[in-house]
Symmetry: C2
Subunit: 223 residues, 2 copies
DNA sequence: TTGCATTTCAAACATTTGTATGAAACTATC
DNA sequence: GATAGTTTCATACAAATGTTTGAAATGCAA
């Protein structure tokens, strides 16, 4: 009822500003100026600045998780209840990478906002992050079905590393570009997804789960 | 000359507080209280709060880089100028992981500070981070010698992924522990190092550099 | 229209924060 | 032991920030 206009204007302005300038640099006054609303409107509609940030993040997280689960479900259905490990990992890291990488001028505000989130975490967001675990467990379950012989520990590490590579690529794409002098094309999103999936899947499927790590630890010279 | 006492007391107190409570929550007044010095001492000795943070980070970064290069050099000497890829990667990620993981009560303040840095990056630190690239290039050079047949692009990605896995493990060790209900032992530092090195080395050495990615991209079904 | 609830607005509030100041205390040199 | 340079200290400053307030405006139902 009434006009959500102000509410949505604030949300849009805040996301835009946070995406562009980071959390540390954006004040309520910046936001209300961008949204053309009164300063008190934020507190009236959201209660506090932190709750505004939290709502932004929750909205985008839900979208991300929904997309991940959609891909996961599709992969499991395509494989009669047992998806390939590649497909599972692709469902896990694909949405993040697709959302946050690609040609800069084509990135949505939402994507740029999520990049910010991954770079400079801020208290209200950190609090919410912890709820992510239940979501990840669904992927562990699928992985268990996909790789029945593997120990859970290996699955956890595999998922962790897959997310690590995806996250860090989003977070530090600039450094990678500089380091490689542009030779690593961070705009080739699908290529990056395949790269991450490939490495993570290799980590999960090479060698058998129990013997891999100890064997290496004994075999290699300490330095 | 004169007493560096105040200076060092401030540095120590600041590092301790930042390590424990993060950058966002620690004010100059907290620091000077912890250090038992006057409020004005920080500006007198360091110029500004940002310069204090920068000095802390630079000091620890130099230590980290020195340690990395020491290990790299030792590995290259041991291999007559050509270190194994494992040894190179171990020199790259070992110091970070050794410094930042392990039983919590045994972690040094320096280590806990560096964990903070990796979690909540703050402007003065971000500015310095960009100088890290020259340091990483030394590892690329060593990798080039170690894996002569590989394209530079593959080396960059391998290094990037190795750092990604190490960094994210430091940053999100808590989540991994929760997700795995303790089954992934994040206190087993040497085991983690071998795990990261193993996966990164595998990514670098499996398949030949040029054909790997395209082959996968064509072979796999989109979902 | 009248009356009631919702929403907007300008202004003020209350803190918190990093930084600056100028005098006092201290140190070392001659 | 006087003097010059360094360091410490209490205090003040100035600016920024999230939040609150109470009145005005607006929307809506009877």
């Amino acid at each position: 009822m009434a006009s959500d206009q102000t509410r949505t204007a604030i949300l849009a302005a805040a996301e835009r500003l946070y995406a562009d300038r980071g959390f540390g640099d954006v004040t309520l006054r910046d936001i209300v100026a961008e949204a053309n609303v009164n300063l008190a409107a934020v507190n009236y509609h959201f209660g506090s600045k932190d709750e505004l940030i939290a709502e932004l993040f929750v909205t985008r997280s839900i979208q991300l998780n929904r997309e991940r689960l959609r891909l996961l479900q599709a992969a499991e259905e395509a494989g009669d209840g047992r998806a390939s490990i590649d497909a599972i990992l692709r469902a896990l890291v694909g949405p993040t990478l697709r959302g946050c990488l690609g040609p800069e001028n084509q990135r949505s505000t939402a994507a740029r906002f999520m990049i910010r989130v991954s770079i400079e975490s801020v208290p209200p967001i950190r609090r919410i992050r912890n709820r992510e675990i239940d979501h990840l467990r669904k992927f562990i379950t699928a992985m268990r079905r996909s790789l029945p012989g593997h120990s859970d520990v290996e699955l956890y590490w595999g998922l962790h590393f897959a997310l690590a590579m995806a996250q860090q690529t989003v977070r530090d794409s600039e450094r990678l570009t500089k380091l490689s002098e542009g030779k690593c094309d961070v705009d080739d999103v699908e290529g990056i997804i395949e790269r991450v999936v490939s490495v993570a899947a290799m980590a999960l499927t090479t060698g058998d789960a129990a013997s891999k790590t100890p064997a290496r630890m004994l075999a290699r010279d300490a330095r």
